[in-house]
Amino acid sequence: MSHHNENIAAVHGHEEHGGMDKKGIWRVFFVLLALTALEFLIALGFVHHWGIIEKGMFLNVVYIVLTLAKAYYIVAYFMHLKFEKSSFIVCCSVGLLFIVYFIILLLIEGDFLLDAFQSHPVFPNN
């Protein structure tokens, strides 16, 4: 019986989670907007218009960091994950380490194929 009651509490007890009021929601929106605007400033302004920075590894890193920052704000605040129990946060995010591993593996593989495919000619067999 108490088990049943606990689950009812899980359904109805969301107001106690704390977290986001309307002000908070708009604050996160403006953070996301600012990060996106920064990306556009870099891409359209610094790269295209003024030609201060060239496309390359440095810029890619900047873009990826900004993207991850945006992803953090969406997941943590909009998806409310920051305000869940810490064991749940760990449960949902620890598997993502495999993605990091996969990125490393496949980029190394791609880099290898670049050499391997180009360095030896294909001979006709007839």
């Binding site: 929601i25 708009w26 990306e39 993605i99 880099d111 180009q118």
Partner: protein
């Protein structure tokens, strides 16, 4: 002495993981939505990582700024990133209206939930419309699954047909793989958006039907909200890897 030990052993454990309660204090369906989204993360990651691997494996790659540079109805060329910027803004905006719908649901305000859900659905449809325009534009240029503008051409004509899309060296395979990846990944994302719009419409109907008002909980709004934010999240990555880098 021994009696105290026994009574300590007999004491009922009441930690979050000792049973009899919901350790995460989350409703079942919401946990399952999270687990689904984690698995979907792997699907999208696999797609995008494959895109990266292809890019690393090709001696040259297409320049996104030269492929996407039109604003439908305003500029035919020379405006990279502007149209996709509008799309990104629409999707972030619809994410915000979704949070506002969830927030209204917490306060049991039916009319507010309806209002914000309608805005969210509108945003989703606008995004899909923009994507349809983008696809049509690219298709007219000659890009499609298994096809690029130089398909069917021979010799120097290939380089000539592809020259407008490259800054570095020109390669048929790079253009082809770009087209395949672009339509597959944005297609899969667009499919997710379509499903999201559909789910939002269902939840809107249920709200109008007073289903949540009667059950006393707008949790279903929260669950489709999670899905909708995930779609927005994926777009953030698609935008970076296809349009910026």
């Amino acid at each position: 002495m021994s009696t105290t030990t026994v009574s300590q052993l007999d004491k009922v454990k009441d930690g979050p993981w000792n049973g009899g309660r919901s350790p995460w204090n989350l409703e079942y369906g919401k946990i399952m939505m999270w687990f689904f989204l984690v698995s979907d993360t792997f699907t999208f990651s696999a797609f995008l990582i494959m895109y990266g691997a292809q890019k690393f494996a090709q001696p040259t790659w297409i320049d996104a700024d030269k492929v996407f540079q039109s604003i439908p109805g305003i500029a035919e060329s020379g405006q990279p990133l502007v149209f996709v910027g509008i799309m990104t803004f629409i999707l972030i905006m619809s994410s915000v209206t979704m949070v506002l719908a969830v927030d209204a649901g917490h306060r049991n305000k039916k009319n507010e939930v309806v209002k914000w859900m309608l805005w969210t659905i509108l945003g989703g449809l606008c995004f899909l419309g923009c994507q349809a325009i983008e696809w049509t534009h690219l298709h007219h240029q000659g890009f499609w699954f298994g096809r690029n503008p130089a398909t069917g051409l021979e010799g120097e004509a290939v380089a000539e047909a592809l020259a407008p899309y490259f800054t570095k060296d020109i390669a048929y395979t790079a253009a082809l793989q770009f087209a395949n990846m672009f339509f597959t990944i944005t297609g899969f994302h667009g499919f997710h958006v379509s499903i999201g719009v559909l789910l939002n419409i269902i939840v809107l109907c249920k709200t109008l039907n007073n289903t949540f008002q009667k059950s006393g909980s707008y949790l279903m709004v929260e669950k489709v909200g999670l899905y909708w934010h995930f779609v927005d999240l994926v777009w953030v990555f698609v935008f970076t890897f296809f349009y910026l880098i």
